[in-house]
Symmetry: C2
Subunit: 203 residues, 2 copies
DNA sequence: ACCTGAACACCGTTCAAGT
DNA sequence: ACCTGAACACCGTTCAAGT
């Protein structure tokens, strides 16, 4: 029943809020996320968060942005640990993305959520774009290796990105058809490869 | 300042709530959706909605379910108004889906949202699946016409579905890279077709 | 600069009571 | 069966005041 004693100076309240927010997002879902409860859990007054996030949406925006950053890091890491062939790199990237999506379903939902502050959504859009450009870059390498068909790299890359994103977001929201759990991702990757392969002879 | 007079019997409160809810969802976003405000707008007491939806999430679930039903109808309609070739039918379906997604961005977000009542999410999952099966069916027709490569229809169809869904949901959330507005969807459709085309000679 | 405490206007949910 | 009105425990946000 006793509320925890309050230290006047919290080390890094902003970081503490984000960490705790992501934890409850993961454990109890986005509906259960309240600034007041966050403040209580951390041990500051309910008005303290407003010093660091001008409103609740600003905290959600920061959470989403942080998600994109971690996703980007995850991708560069996973690409460093894998061979050079396009098929291998695509496979690794696809599995890493889907892994992130299912391990952070609520966060992914938030990252691509339609409700963001107009100012923050600008920042988020460019974060999303930086991420999609990692796939585009992969396509570029594939083209240089002759393992991906020629053409403007953004135009060849976008369908790859939307395909992976579609699978990842369906997996995260639990809306994948039940048959998919078996070879779903394999089939998706195979289908991307078929669509990416250089044309046999023509032109 | 005056609150509207309250008719004791509302014609169909459930339907009125859903209609109004979708309107404010579209106009002011999901965060602005409150049961109390809905009740005020319609002219019933704030406790009246609970007769029709056991809680707020139940209303959101109903909204999402309704979205899937309309999406399904939209698809059967659009398929009725179009030629028989697979390419033509896929194109029509893709444009209709993306059209629905951008015209009902907040609703699409809700339809594939990760936070749903466990009981309702069952129902939603099967609604999502019925919808994805419309694409699978399209693939089946394409196979019979020899315009889509052979193989288990669900396994050939899933990548098509995830690709379309990925594009639609990115378009809805405004996260498509800016280059995409030009030929984004064309490229995606083309990439699906390339991946769906029957193999040239082998096997 | 950073935080508190009180205050304000809202919520969702429940429940006895009314018709 | 369907709705009301009051009550409860919560919200997010703001703002003077404290250190």
């Amino acid at each position: 029943m006793q509320t925890r004693p309050r230290r006047y100076h919290h080390g890094d309240l902003r970081a503490a809020l984000l960490t705790r927010a992501e934890q409850t997002l993961r454990e109890k879902g986005p509906a259960a996320l309240s600034l007041r409860e966050l403040a209580r859990d951390i041990g500051v007054s309910h008005a303290a968060p407003s010093r660091h996030f001008k409103d609740k949406q600003a905290l959600l925006d920061a959470l989403a942005l942080n998600g994109f950053e971690r996703l980007g890091e995850l991708m560069t890491e996973c690409q460093a640990r894998v061979g050079e062939s396009f098929a291998e790199r695509l496979d690794a990237m696809a599995r890493a993305y889907v892994g992130f999506a299912t391990a952070n379903a609520a966060l992914l939902d938030l990252m691509y959520s339609v409700k963001h502050n107009p100012e923050a959504s600008q920042e988020l859009r460019s974060a999303a774009q930086r991420w999609s450009e990692q796939i585009v870059q992969l396509i570029g390498e594939g083209q240089r290796r002759g393992e991906v068909r020629q053409g403007p790299v953004e135009r060849v890359g976008l369908p790859v990105f939307t395909t992976l994103h579609g699978y990842a977001s369906l997996a995260a929201s639990g809306m994948l058809p039940p048959e998919a759990t078996e070879h779903g991702l394999d089939d998706v990757i195979a289908s991307i490869l078929r669509g990416c392969a250089p044309e046999p002879a023509s032109s």
